[in-house]
Structures are given as structure tokens and as C-alpha cells.
């Protein structure tokens, strides 16, 4: 039964779901007639860390794949890494939902995962904070949401505020963190209660990424202690943050309720701005 072959199929990350391939191979093996082969997919490169015990049957279906440099990268990063041992088996995975392109990430090397997450943070940041053509569409704007970026930005803002404070450093940090985290959750709930259509985590992620300009503002204010400079910097970064959050929040709700959704966001950023100015 091809089940025993199925764990030797190497797959390209962009190929279709493995369950498709397995089913095709089963159908092809069972039927003597022309097999129902799906349209051409990119050839699957082997994963260098996992031995591929080839069988003649598999080889006839999949053309010899070109080696892929990232998967042959056995570099062990400073973060925990354990190259997937041969006993784990190969790239067969059964996606529980649908047959959409399921990236085969179950057996990739750890370094790949780290790189993928880091590049996702950077691309999300660019999407949210800098002008780009997809800003109007909330579905596309932050498709691959992640909470790492927001986490780092909130912690960084808290740390910067805490550093700038000459007294009560711990309280400042705790207040800043709690305010931002709770604020993001409440703002999201606000939009949901107004009958808007957003996804909870996507919105949290967006509001976190929009803190990036305020992070920069807080950093500059920490370095330059002049009140006028602080006010100018904070107002500029505040406007930038609000501009970043605006399209996403406004397109999620009924047009008549736009102001109701946007006003609390603006309020939260203004309060963070005051916190930055007031700290000395």
C-alpha cells in the first residue's frame, strides 16, 4: 500500500496539500487506466536532512528535483535547534482543513522556521506602517498576522519609557505594558461590538505594529530631553501611527460608525503620546 511509500515523498513548500498527492498516488497505483494526475506542480526538492528511500513507483511520478539551498542548510542557530532525525519520517502531513496550499512545514529545519518568522515580522511591519497599495483591503493588509512584532514593540516602548523615567521605573513599565495590551484588546472588542468584521488576532497584531512610530518617538525623546523637540516628535509620530491604523479600522466597520471605531484608537495613541512627553 502506498502508505508505506507516502512518508518518503519530498515536497516543495509551495506544492499542494500532501493529502492530494497521496490520494493521487493511491489512485494511480490502483487503477490500471490513465491516472488522474493533477496539473503540473513545481518539482519537489529533497530535504537533505531526511533520507529519501526511493521506490521506482514514486520516481516515475515526480521528476528529479533540484536541490534547494535552504533545506540543505544544516546550520545550527544559537536558538534551540535539532535537525529532524531520520526516525521522524518525511514530509507527509495531513492538513485537517481543506485542500488549499498547505505549506509543508512539518519537517523543515529549525533555521528555516526562524528565518520565516523574522521575515514575516519585517513584511508585516512594512505593510502596516509604510505606504503600500494594499492598505485599503483589511483582508489582504495583514494576512499573515503574527504577535511577535507587537510583543517586541510593546516591550520596547515600556522599556524606553521606564528608562526615561527617573523615579518609579517599575510602575511606569507595568502601566505602559498593561495599558497597551489591555488597550489593544479593548479596541478590538469595540470594533467587534460595533458590528464590524475583523478578526481578533489580526486586529491585535495591527494595533501592535502601529506602535512602531511611537517607539521611534519615545526613543528620540529619551535621547533628547528638550520639551519642544519632544512635543514636535510626539505629534509627528502620533499622526503617523493614526494614519497607519486608520484604513484598517475604518474599513472594518459600517461607514456611519467609522468615527466610533477610530476615536478610541486615536485616544489611546494620544494618551501614550502624553505619557512619552510627561516622562522626565
Amino acid at each position: 500500500m502506498s502508505n508505506s511509500h507516502s512518508d518518503t515523498i519530498p515536497l516543495h513548500p509551495s506544492s499542494q496539500s500532501d493529502i492530494d498527492e497521496i490520494e493521487n498516488l493511491i489512485n494511480a497505483s490502483v487503477q490500471s487506466g490513465p491516472a488522474t494526475v493533477l496539473p503540473a506542480r513545481p518539482p519537489s526538492p529533497p530535504r537533505a536532512s531526511i533520507p529519501v528511500s526511493s521506490t521506482p513507483f514514486i520516481q516515475s511520478q515526480i521528476p528529479p528535483p533540484p536541490p534547494q539551498s535552504s533545506s540543505s542548510n544544516q546550520k545550527v542557530p544559537s536558538v534551540p535547534a535539532a535537525p529532524p532525525p531520520p526516525s521522524v519520517g518525511n514530509s507527509s502531513s495531513i492538513a485537517a482543513t481543506g485542500f488549499g496550499p498547505a505549506p509543508n512545514t512539518l519537517t523543515e529545519p529549525v533555521w528555516d522556521t526562524v528565518k520565516r518568522d523574522l521575515s514575516r515580522i519585517v513584511s508585516n511591519l512594512k505593510l502596516v506602517v509604510f505606504p503600500n497599495p494594499y492598505r485599503e483591503d483589511p483582508g489582504k493588509a495583514l494576512r499573515d498576522w503574527d504577535l511577535w512584532g507587537p510583543f517586541f514593540f510593546i516591550v520596547f516602548l515600556g522599556l524606553t519609557l521606564s528608562w526615561s523615567a527617573s523615579v518609579k521605573k517599575s510602575e511606569v513599565f507595568a502601566v505602559a505594558f498593561a495599558l497597551l495590551a489591555a488597550g489593544a484588546v479593548i479596541l478590538t472588542l469595540n470594533v467587534l461590538l460595533l458590528g464590524g468584521h475583523i478578526i481578533f488576532f489580526q486586529s491585535l497584531s495591527l494595533l501592535g505594529y502601529c506602535l512602531f512610530p511611537l517607539d521611534i518617538g519615545a526613543l528620540i525623546c529619551m535621547l533628547k530631553d528638550n520639551v519642544v523637540v519632544k512635543m514636535v516628535v510626539v505629534s509627528v509620530t502620533l499622526a503617523w501611527s493614526s494614519w497607519a491604523a486608520y484604513p484598517f479600522m475604518s474599513s472594518a466597520v459600517n461607514p456611519r460608525r467609522k468615527a466610533l471605531a477610530l476615536y478610541p484608537v486615536f485616544l489611546m495613541y494620544v494618551s501614550v503620546g502624553f505619557l512619552i512627553i510627561a516622562i522626565n
Binding site: L106, S162, S170
Partner: protein, 183 residues
Amino acid sequence: MDFAQPPVENYANPRTCFFHVLFKASALAFYILSALFFNSFVIIFVVTVLLSALDFWVVKNVSGRILVGLRWWNEINDLGESVWRFECLDQESLARMNKKDSWLFWWTLYLSAVAWIVLGIFSLIRFQADYLLVVGVCLTLNIANIVGFTKCRKDAKKQIQQFATQTIASRFSSTIQSAFSVV
């Protein structure tokens, strides 16, 4: 007496197991012991939450894959809806998973959540709201992983059963077809 007993199964991935436990244990240890060394709440908060976040990442992306062959994540499809995806290795590979590895994985996952709950109760009793914040964040991360992997495991079992019956049924029907075509 049977001397030819099979050797006790060892950990198949000792390094992954080590890291799986390392971040959990160091987050808990740092939180508990830091009061002896550091006066500053900020450092305690940042380091503990950072270790917890690293642990979350390691469990979700590395040890979940390697020790128990499961993985879960969230996607947003073209219609703009959020879809939770669960992934598992096929049944043969799952059966080949080291028992000790998966035992360690599940037990440390549950135990660390329980430990954080206990610490949370302590800080609640002492009315320390800021420490409760730390415990809350770490607990959230732990519970997210527990829920994700438990759902993944249940889903995996269901999927394997469905897949097995499906392939058996298709194989059976095509065998019958070929039998009839011969006749």
C-alpha cells in the same frame, strides 16, 4: 529467566527535549528566584516574559514537530476568515514516535501550566498586581500551546481514521471493479 530483554527505549531527540524543558524551567526558576537577587520589577518582567515567549515559540515550532509530530497555526483565507490549521505526520511516522519523547512533551506542558497557576495564586494572595500580570502572560502562552496541541492530537486521530476508511473503501471498490472486469 529471560536475560535477552530489549533495552529500555531512550530519548530519540535528547537535544530537543532538553530545550523543550529548558525555557519552561528557566522562566519558572527565574521568576521564583529573582526576588532574591533583583530589586527591579522591570527586569523580572521582561526576562520572564521573554523566556516564556521563547518557550512558546520552541514548543509550537520545534518540539511539537519533532517530539510528537503535530503542528498548529492560524491562517486567513481569501474570504478574510480566520482558519485554524492542524497538521500531523502520517500514521506510520506517528507510530514510530518515541514514547518517552511524547511522554516528556505532554507532561512538562501540563506541569508548567499548573506551576504558573500556583504562582498566580500566591501573588493573588499577596495582592501583587504587577506580578500577577507576569503570571497572567506566561499562563496565557502556556495554555495557548496546550489547547493548540490537544486539538491537534484529536484532529489527527480523526483525520487518520477518516483517511484510513476512505482508502480502504476506495481500494475495496476498485478491487471489486477489477474483479468484475476480469469476469
